[in-house]
Structures are given as structure tokens and as C-alpha cells.
Amino acid sequence: MDSVVVAEKITKTYRVGVGRARVREMTPPPFDSALSKVFPKWWWKGTFNALEDVSMEIAGGSCVGIVGHNGAGKTTLLKVLAEVTAPTSGKAIVRGRVAALVDALVGFHPELTGRENAFLLGSMHGFGRKEMASRIDDIFEFAEIEEMADTPVKRYSSGMSARLGFSIVTALELEILLVDEILAVGDANFQRKCIEWLEGYRKSGGTLLFVSHNLGLVRSMTERLVWLDHGRVVEEGPTDKVLPIYAQAMERRDGGHRVYNRKATKKAMESRGMHRWGSGGARVEEAHVNQTRPDGSALEVTIDYESDDVANGVFCVGFIDESGREIGAAISQPIPLDVGKGAIRCAIDNMPFRPGIYFPVVAIVSPEGEVRDRWRLDRAIVIERNGHQSVDGFGAIELPSAWSSSESTPRVMGRTS
């Protein structure tokens, strides 16, 4: 299919600071470009590029994800593509009805009721009153807030306005939808409903551009990925290729905190985003994870440790998924530790994990269960689809199973063969 979204060398420059009377902004074209040529130093002072030379294309009916850390320019890119703001240079071509769902507020007026807001938003997207009137019941039914339709939006909870915002967008028959992390709000049920709707929307030929920090969602929803960093495209390609590199880079960025504190509790440390904690006495010095099979389903982990005076240790190699959930671990028997430095090796022959990205954690625990050193490594392992069926929504563990055809027993499911 042809490209429905084309970004050509888009650069978007913002000015930093509040500023007083903003002469530079209020100068209308063509005088602004004249001024910028006469006083270039003053003109470009205090500016930064939220986007720099960003080019991309999105084929009709595809789903493309945008990832990047905070401030990478993801939202700016969506706003430029939605024509909310104009690029400083470059061109955005969008063919079809487009809307951006930048956040949960979607531009509601707080004093208006949900119904009035729905009509207003509809007319902003070019829908007349009659067209909206025929959809309004569906909107509130989808949002599951029928009883709130005639209450001002200011009295809505944030979850309710997010529901309403998403529901209005579902009614607008858009050809291109730009979604920015909106699925982070609302309860699990509604999130699932949104994802189901988005999947249906894609099957019916809709194009989706999707920003999320939830790598699991990105992996299951998108087929291509654009990785932005400081306004530039770092990597662009199929999700299967780009996501692992991105995930590893993110881990490297965030990781590396070393904390030793006898009183440190797990909860306190994790809530502070620490990737390493423990009571000490024995420490992991270095850990290497080698994927010994190309699809990632076998691992060898070597742990170099150092022990002060601890005689025994239980070694753990665990895995966390993209959303931070602990999935499973290999746990040793108590092992006598050498005082001073030592090394231990762990081989996992068959990872029972389904395709995805996992982050290894290594730990030394006392036989009584006291965590001496627990370290979330700054790397990711990828288990590929090789030989696995890609089915979403069944968790991270693939159970060992044997399957046989039931054709010899025709009574199964009442089917006759």
C-alpha cells in the first residue's frame, strides 16, 4: 500500500524559557525570516531542536511504534503529523482523516458536560451535530459512563475522561490515528477494550502510529518501530529488529546503580528505581549472560563474586519482563563460598519463556533468605519467535507440552471427521 504519512526532514525548533514579550514569535512572515537573517545570533539564541531532520514513511494500514526516552521528541512528532503545530523546516504529508490522542484530556472543556464536549470535539474534527447525534449513544456505551453523560467533565475522574476521550475518537472514523501513551490511563478492563478496538481498527485498514513506554504493548501491536533520541531517528525498521537494541540501550542508560546498605529494604530500593541492592557480605562482581542458542532459548550465566566472611550462598538467576514483572528464576542449592573471589556458572538449557524481551537479575542470597546482593543487569535477552507461534495474551511462560491429533477419536467436540 502507498504511504499515507510521509515526514520529510522535519525539524522543529522550540525556544526555552518563559521570556517576556516575545518579539521573535510575534513577528509574522515574511518579516521573521528577514529578521533571522539580519540578526541570526539573537534569533537563534536559546533555542533547541525537539526534532531534527526526522524522515519517515508509514504505509497505509500499518502500525508503527515510536519509542524513546522522555524528551526524545515523540509527542512533538505526533503533534507535527497531526498538524497541531507546524514544523520549523521540512514537510509533513498526511493523507486522510487524522487525529492525535496526545493524552487523556483530549481537549475537553471542564465546564461542559460529557455530551456537550463530545459534540464540540466532533465538530472540531469536522462532524456536524446530526452525525454526532447518531453516534453519541455508542460513545457513552463504549466508555461505560452513560450515567455521567450530562455531568460537567470537571467532575469526572481522570479515568472517566480518558474513557470518554478514547470513545469519542473511536466514533470519528479516522483513517490515521496517532496515539500517545493514552493506554496508560484507565483500568485494566478498559485498556484491554481499547487494545481490542485498536486491533479491529487496524484490521479494517486503519493506520496507527503508536507511542508507548510499555515495550510489551509495542511488541505486540506494531510491526515497525522508530526509535527517537534527542529529536533524531536512531534506528528505524521492523519491530523485531529494533526493539531488542532499544531495550538494551534503555537498560544501559538506567542501570548501574550500586547500593549497599544493611538497612535497605527491597521495597524502598525498588521504589527509588535502584537496580541493585542488598545487605552485603557477599557481592556479585561481574555477571555475563551468553545466549548459547541463536533463538535465545538456552543461556549460560557466569557470576564472579567476592565474599567477605560469608560461608554459604544461594545463587539466583531471575528474569523480569518488559513491564517489570518477575517471571521466573533458576535457584541454586546453598553453595560453599570461597573467601575472597570466586566464580560460579549456571547453565539453563531450555528457557520455558515465550518470545519477548527479558531482563536478567542475578543475586546472592543467604540460605536463610537474606538478600546479600541483588543486581538487575544492564542488558536484555531476546527470545525470538523461532519455532514459536506468535500468539499474544497468554503470559510469558510456555509450558512443555505434547500435542497429538484427535482424528482417531471422532467424538471430540462432537465433530465427525
Partner: protein
Amino acid sequence: MYRKLWRHRDLVLSLVRRQYQLRYRQSMVGFAWAILPPLATLGAANIVFHQVAGVQAPEGTNYSIITMAALVPWSFFQNSLTSGVPSVVQASSMLTRIPFPRASLPLSMIGISMLDLSIAALLFVVLTYLIGDGLPLTALWFPILLGLEVLLVAGVTLLTSSLNLFARDVKLAVPIAMQLWLFLTPVMYPLESVSESLRPYYLLNPMTGLVESFRTVLISPGAAPELDLLLPTIIGAVSIFLLGSWYFAATENRFADVI
């Protein structure tokens, strides 16, 4: 800009409706707010200008009538401007999320002021039959003059509402500017009471020609507007309209960035 606006004419209507719905929500006297301001201004003008300062209406007319005839178009001008100037800034949550034609925001404020205008105009008609000599046939000029005023109001509002986005000084300056402008426009006194030497300067103000023309056509016996009064207004209104539209259209794609 206007082509895009025409395609989104439903939006302008919705915005007017929104403003209408919002206006009297959680207020006590509600609809009476449409009649109270012009009546109060008329009362104050009667005391200050007519009784204290001794301003007299021309022979054969009533001071209240000539003042009301000017207050009706003046209030429209003032209401449009005071609500139109902050309208773009107030819509920041929509501005940064939805790519709708931005001009619909200030222009819808003119729409809502139009509703106030019709109520004030009704009040004027009632007054003319109560204490004046009724409406003359030349009152049919009213829509034409109103069209001219809308052009002027749209130009000023577009210009000031977009400037207000870049420099909030504009919003702060509006009340004082409106007050001065009111005193320098023959609203609470007739143009006849202005000395001959000052009149040419008075005519530089496009509102002068407008309110005087409204008086001419609305008050019995009624006459067609004088061209030498109206001409400066026509030139002023058209050029301000073009200037305002141009500036708004030239800068509107930056609104989301600077808000």
C-alpha cells in the same frame, strides 16, 4: 483562513453554543445579565453626562434614546473584544491537541455578542415606543451598518487575540483601552456637542462614524447615513479587517507552540 473556516462553520456554531451554555451556568439571575449592563450604563450616563455635565440631546430628541441608540452598537463592540481577546489563550487545551481552524475561537465570541446585541436592540425598540417617537423606516439600514461593524470588530478581535498569545499585555490593556475608547467615542454624548476643531480627529476613530450613523437611521424622523461620516468608517473597518485577518492567519500555526 476563511475558506477553512467556512468548511468548519459547524464548529463556529458549536463554539457559540458552548459559550451560550456556559455563560449562565452556576449564576443566580442568569438571563437577566443580558439586559442589566446596557440598562445600568444608560442610567449612569443619564446621571453623569445628562444631569451633572449637562449634555443635551439635539432638539426634538430624548437623551436616553440617543444614548441607547449608540450604546447598542458600542456594547456589541466592547463585548466582542473583551471576550474575544482572551478566547484563544483560554482554549489552550484544545489548541495543543486538535488541528481546528483557530479563528473560530475569537469569531465565535463575536457570535455570542451578537446574541446580546439582539437583546439590547429589542430593549432599544421598546424604549423608542415608550419614551420616543417609534422606529423610522430608515431603521432598515441597521443590518448594513451592523455588517460594517462586524467587519471592524472581527479585524480588531483577530489582531488583538493573536497578539495576546505572544504578549499577555494585550489582555491587561483591554479594559483600560475600552474605557478610554468609550470616552473618546460620541456614545454618551452626541457628536454635535464636540467642538468643530476636534471633529476631524474624532472621525479618525471608525467607531465615531458608526455610532453616529446608527443614531441617524434609528431615531425618528430618520435619514440615510451621511457619507462623509461613514466613509472614514468604511475605510477603517475594511483595512483593520484585512490587517487582523492577515496577522492571525500568518501566526496561527505558532499558537500551539507559544501558548
